[in-house]
């Protein structure tokens, strides 16, 4: 996931692969402490990697919390729902921390952490909205366009239900709010119920 490298630390000799290369990736070291970074757009590859990490950590120890640090612009809904479902499935508690920004899909992951374990840094920003699409798809006739729109609506409903469930708001309120982009700073996010604590 990450690219940054640190000089080799001899206390980390168990990291065989990175050791052979003479350095250990920062994110590999963080993974040792059950920390996952979501720092890119949501797509299928990244979602598969993230859910694999979650499953692995849960299998290793399902009592210690797993931490997800989020700094993301959001992305594909399929990727988001993949990660979300795995988060809900595993037994280990999940601590989510917004560092910098959690937009769109990132905000849903932030809200989906274990209740009471959702944090945001003081100056971080969050944005929530409904599904954004490129529409209509060229080459689709009217029948397909209508079906695709129905599908998008159902996906959007799913998302809104998730947000409503984790923020404690009514579905109608979330649906109404998410008709446009809602930008929030840490304090407003706390008020909206997406996080439980601000890290000062």
């Amino acid at each position: 996931m990450g690219k940054s490298k640190l000089d080799h630390d001899h206390d980390q000799d168990h990291l065989r692969g990175p050791l052979l290369m003479g350095y250990a990736d920062t994110y590999v070291k963080l993974a040792k402490h059950r920390i996952i970074f979501i720092s890119e757009g949501f797509n299928d590859t990244m979602a598969a990697q993230t859910s694999a990490m979650l499953l692995y950590f849960d299998n290793e120890d399902h009592e210690t919390p797993i931490e997800i640090y989020i700094h993301s612009n959001g992305g594909a809904v399929t990727g988001l729902l993949n990660i979300y479902d795995v988060m809900q499935m595993i037994r280990a508690p999940i601590k989510t921390v917004c560092i910098g920004k959690s937009f769109s899909a990132g905000a849903v992951i932030l809200a989906a952490g274990t209740k009471g374990e959702r944090y945001a840094l003081k100056n971080s920003r969050v944005m929530i909205h409904g599904i954004q699409v490129a529409f209509p798809i060229p080459g689709h006739d009217m029948t397909n366009s209508k079906n695709y729109y129905e599908y998008l609506m159902s996906e959007n409903d799913k998302l809104m239900k998730i947000l409503a469930y984790h923020t404690g708001h009514s579905l109608d309120k979330v649906k109404e709010d998410c008709k446009q982009d809602v930008w929030m700073d840490a304090k407003q996010v706390l008020e909206y119920g997406i996080i439980d604590h601000i890290i000062d």
């Binding site: 209509p136 060229p138 080459g139 006739d141 009217m142 209508k146 729109y149 998008l152």
Partner: protein, 194 residues
């Protein structure tokens, strides 16, 4: 491709574009996908030729895979607006939007050459915009109403009920010239065999 030919006039040898020359004789070509440029040229020429003489027919030769629905409806509106009778002749193929133009010629003056192919389907999107779902619904509604408009034109020109036309063209239908004549999209097949 060079379309310039020389012509001897009283001023001597003059270069002349074939299409321009044909346009002077009230023959226009819709032989490309129906885009902004083509549609504007056609509409401008229709207006010009109509203003010169509104009793003589204008001929549209059509060989097109279709194109933009907005431009198509613009051409059809203009065809209906001017007084000159409009003869439409399908040479090669008239697909989707092009078939609507073919069918919109003056009744009794819609032709297709023997080997031409005509295809009709419901509207197929050819554009895309980034939107939230509220706006996406509006785009969908727009496309659906364009589709309905297209089918209404077919219903009017083929003298068939709208319901039947919509059912018939729910999936793409390919027709040869004689099928199209039977359905009422054209009036007569032009025999070109010698």
């Amino acid at each position: 491709m060079n379309t310039i030919v020389t012509e001897t006039t009283e001023h001597g040898e003059m270069p002349m574009d074939v299409y321009q020359k044909l346009a002077n004789d009230r023959i226009l070509f819709i032989c490309d996908s129906i885009n902004d440029n083509l549609a504007t040229d056609i509409v401008a020429t229709l207006l010009l030729k109509d203003s010169e003489d509104s009793d003589k027919k204008i001929t549209l030769f059509i060989n097109s895979q279709g194109g933009d629905i907005r431009n198509t409806l613009m051409i059809i509106d203009m065809m209906n607006m001017i007084d000159s009778p409009i003869e439409t002749v399908c040479i090669g193929a008239a697909m989707d939007e092009a078939a609507v133009i073919l069918a919109s010629g003056t009744p009794g003056m819609r032709f297709a050459t023997q080997n031409s192919q005509i295809a009709v389907s419901q509207l197929v999107n050819d554009w895309m915009a980034r939107a939230n779902l509220t706006d996406a619904k509006k785009y969908l509604d727009l496309a659906v109403s364009d589709n309905k408009r297209m089918m209404e034109i077919f219903s009017k020109t083929t003298k068939k009920p709208l319901k039947q036309v919509m059912a018939d063209f729910d999936r793409r239908v390919f027709m040869n010239a004689s099928h199209a004549a039977k359905y009422g999209i054209i009036d007569k097949v032009v025999n070109v065999t010698k």
